[in-house]
Amino acid sequence: MSRSIRLFTFAAPSRFYWLTGKLLPWLWATAALSAIAGLYMGFFVAPTDATQGDAYRIIFVHVPAAWMSMLLYLVMAGWAVFGWAANARLASMVARALAPTGAMFTFLALWTGALWGKPTWGTWWVWDARLTSELILLFLYLGYMALVESIDDVRRADHAGALLALIGAINVPVIYFSVKWWNTLHQGATISMTAAPKMAATMLNAMLLMTVAFWAYSFAVVFMRTRAIVLERERQAQWVIDMALKAQEASK
C-alpha cells in the first residue's frame, strides 16, 4: 500500500479518526493558551475605553463569537451541500457536528451583546438590525438541528439538512438587509479589512487572540463530535470493532 497522501486521503472516516486523534491535543492546547493570553490582555492590559469605561471589555468575547456564529453557518452549509452533491459521508457528518457549536456561538454573541447593551445603551435588548438578524440566525441553526434530529434515516437527514442549510445561506443576506432597512441602532463595524482599525493595538491584539482561541476551540470540539458520529455510524465497520476490542483488552 502506498503511503502517499492525496486530496481525499482523510475523507475516509477511519483515516479522519486517526488524524483528528493526533490533532486534538494540539487544538485544545492552542485554544486554552490563546484564550488565557487573550483574556489576560483584554481584561488587564488593554486600556479603559474613554466613553464606555470597562463595560466595553465584553467585546473580546462578543465580537469573535459573532464572527464565528456567521462563519460556522456558511461552513456548515458548505460541507452539508458538498456531502449531498458529492455523496461524501464524512462531509455530512462534519456539517452535523458543526451545528451545535455554531448555535452555541450565536447564543453567546446574543448573551454577551445583552450584557454589553445594558450599561451602554441602557437596555438588555433592542430590536435593531444586527441583533435581530443574529437572533434569526439562531432560529436557522435550531431549525437545521431540529430537522436533522427528527429524521431517523441518516441519509435522508443529511440531504434534507443540506437543502435547508443551503436555502438558509441564500436567505441570510436577504434577511440581513430587510432587517437593516427595518431598523438600525447598532454601531457600524469597527474592524474592516480595507480601513485602518479604529482601536488601540492592544485591544485589537486581544481580540485577535480570542479569535484564534475560538477557531481552535471550534476545530477541536467539532472534530470530537465528528469522531463520535463516525463511531456511531461506522459501528459495523471492522476498524471500529477492532478498536473497541483493543480498548476492552486494555481496560482489563
Binding site: F139, G143, A146, R156, A160, V174, I175, S178, W182
Partner: protein, 223 residues
C-alpha cells in the same frame, strides 16, 4: 404536455379540497379568530389598534398559511400517489409548483379576501387597507412557495407540524417586514412603492427558486 401536468396537479388538489369544503375553510377561519383575539388582549382603543393592525394581520396570515402546510403532500404520500407522481416522466418541479399553486388558491386567496374585513375591525384607513391587500397579493404566494419546501422536507415526520413552523417562519421574515412595512409607509404619509417592489422581487425570486428546491426536497424525502 409538460405544462399540462402543472394545471392538472393544481386542479386535482382543488377538486379534492372542494369535496371537503369546511376543511378547506379552516385556515381563513383561524386567520379571523386569531386576529380578533388581539383587541381583546391589547384593549379596544382605536389608536393602538390602528397602529398594530398591519403587523397583526400579517402575522396571523403567516400562521394561517403555515397551518395547512403539513397536509400539502401528506395524504398523497400516505396513499402512495405522490410516489407515482415522482416516478412518472413529468417534471417534479412542475408537480411541486402545481401543489404550491393549489395551496395558495386554498389559503392565500381566502386570506386576501378576508383581510379587508379585519382592516375594518381594526379601524384602518381605506387606503391603508388597499395597500395591505396589495401586499398580501404579492406576499402570500411567497409563503405558499416557501411552505412547499418545508412541507416536502418534513414529509412523514412525527413532529412535522411544529417543525414546518420552525423551518419556514424564519425564512418568511422578509415578507412580513416588507408587507407590514408597506402599510406603515402609507400611515406615515409616504409612498409604499419601494416596499411593494421588494415584495414583488421576493415573489419573483421564490417563483424561480422554490419549486426546484421543493422538488429536490421531495426526491430526498421519498427516495
Amino acid at each position: 404536455m409538460s405544462a399540462g401536468v402543472f394545471m392538472l396537479v393544481a386542479g386535482r388538489d382543488l377538486k379534492l379540497a372542494g369535496r371537503r369544503r369546511f376543511e378547506a375553510l379552516l385556515p381563513v377561519v383561524f386567520f379571523i379568530v386569531a386576529a380578533s383575539l388581539f383587541p381583546l388582549g391589547v384593549g379596544p382603543e382605536p389608536q393602538i389598534l390602528r397602529q398594530i393592525a398591519p403587523g397583526v394581520v400579517w402575522v396571523c396570515a403567516l400562521l394561517a398559511a403555515m397551518l395547512s402546510l403539513n397536509t400539502l403532500f401528506a395524504s398523497d404520500h400516505q396513499d402512495g400517489s405522490l410516489e407515482q407522481m415522482l416516478l412518472s416522466r413529468h417534471s417534479t418541479v412542475l408537480i411541486a409548483a402545481g401543489k404550491a399553486l393549489a395551496h395558495w388558491v386554498l389559503t392565500g386567496l381566502p386570506l386576501i379576501l378576508a383581510a379587508p374585513v379585519l382592516g375594518v375591525l381594526f379601524d384602518m384607513r381605506s387606503d391603508a387597507i388597499l395597500i395591505m391587500v396589495a401586499g398580501l397579493i404579492l406576499g402570500t404566494p411567497v409563503l405558499s412557495l416557501l411552505g412547499s419546501i418545508g412541507a416536502a422536507l418534513t414529509l412523514g415526520l412525527r413532529s412535522g407540524g411544529v417543525l414546518i413552523l420552525l423551518l419556514v417562519l424564519p425564512l418568511s421574515i422578509p415578507v412580513l417586514i416588507f408587507g407590514a412595512g408597506a402599510v406603515g409607509m402609507v400611515d406615515s404619509g409616504l409612498s409604499p412603492a419601494g416596499h411593494l417592489s421588494l415584495l414583488g422581487a421576493l415573489l419573483l425570486l421564490s417563483l424561480v427558486a422554490a419549486p426546484p428546491a421543493a422538488a429536490a426536497a421531495l426526491r430526498i424525502s421519498v427516495s
